[in-house]
Subunit: 219 residues, 2 copies
């Protein structure tokens, strides 16, 4: 942890163990060794925490970062906003390449997941689309495949062990949790050899292992 | 325009006049006075440019920025990636507040539109949901209202003339084009007084006027 010269209040992350957006942030914090308390929030249907959680994030989603004891703007939602904040305040080790063009490409890859895939396959989009379980599965798989295919095509231009060559970047932090969602929805990675290789390499990194959903599953 | 000391190739923006994501980027470039050629791409059903455009962006969307004559990574998609690139390479005038916490909040607001609203109300999501025009409208209005309500609640903590007080930021560049989509889908702003005020102020800025869809509508 190598914070810039700013007073950062004690941090608390509201998350859910198998929310892919939560995993992105847990992973960024693990990579940068940012100290943080974790508070589990269950937003599944039937859970009672949704109304309480909307005071922290009006869209009702996790993750939300709390700056404890801070009177102005104590809550910060949206994984990309949290990770860009972490990158600015704890710049080393960086989750972005060094030059602007490659930084932009890493952000483009992250966006293929962040805005192009995850919101469309999320539970609330499924709920709004249909109650029919067969059609829900078709819908969910459609959006996951659409996103992973685009990622696979694009990442071929930059991939090494990770999405942007040798360096772990925020692109990987968005990709691998989406692959976890893909597996839960029975979408295999055989059609996406670059993604499959990147996932294997990323899963073996200490920060990925430290932030993996399995480690946060309620007993 | 106040570029950092980098050689930036000649820029070309592939866009569509009333795509809200295209407007975000046109607006950022107008605000920063970044010189750019514009190339219209019609991605509506029946248009013939989709296959050609997928070579520039595998998700098939606009906007896409081209770095003309650059052999490595000549194309950059995703509005947020393009705008963050512009912010890094042409830092003045800035589209982000000065301190990290407020920068993060501006990004959170932009994300409410970028990942929380626009992808769900987009034409391709409508197409996948249903062909029934009444249900398409209900679906579209649902996601627009869901996003604008969250934005309204959150922006109350920071709003002045614009979303982040006195300064035009990327939050406004995402909000106002979404309001344009709202109007096209007969969602009024009466329930969102902060948003309505911000929209009015932002529409009167020279960079917004210079980038407005009306100015790019084909004759």
């Amino acid at each position: 942890m190598n914070a810039v010269s700013l007073k950062v209040p004690k941090l608390r992350l509201y998350h859910y163990w198998r929310s892919s957006s939560s995993w992105r942030v847990r992973w960024a914090f693990a990579y940068k060794e940012i100290a943080c308390d974790f508070v589990a929030v269950d937003l599944l249907p039937g859970a009672s925490e949704s109304a309480e959680h909307r005071k922290r994030n009006p869209l009702g989603y996790v993750p939300v970062l709390e700056f404890q004891g801070q009177p102005h703007l104590p809550y910060l939602g949206e994984s990309i906003a949290i990770i860009e904040w972490a990158e600015e305040v704890f710049p080393e080790p960086s989750l972005l390449p060094g030059n602007p063009l490659e930084r932009a490409r890493a952000r483009q890859l992250a966006e293929i997941i962040n805005s192009g895939t995850q919101p469309l396959q999320n539970l609330n989009a499924q709920d709004e689309h249909t109650k029919d379980p067969v059609e829900r599965k078709r819908w969910t798989q459609h959006w996951i495949r659409n996103g992973l295919q685009a990622y696979e095509t694009l990442v071929a231009e930059t991939a090494g062990p990770f999405s942007m060559g040798d360096q772990l970047t925020l692109a990987d932090l968005f990709l691998v949790p989406q692959c976890y969602n893909a597996a839960r929805n029975e979408v295999g990675l055989d059609a996406y050899p670059n993604i499959a290789r990147i996932q294997k390499n990323a899963l073996a990194t200490p920060s990925c292992m430290a932030s993996h959903p399995d480690r946060f599953q309620p007993k």
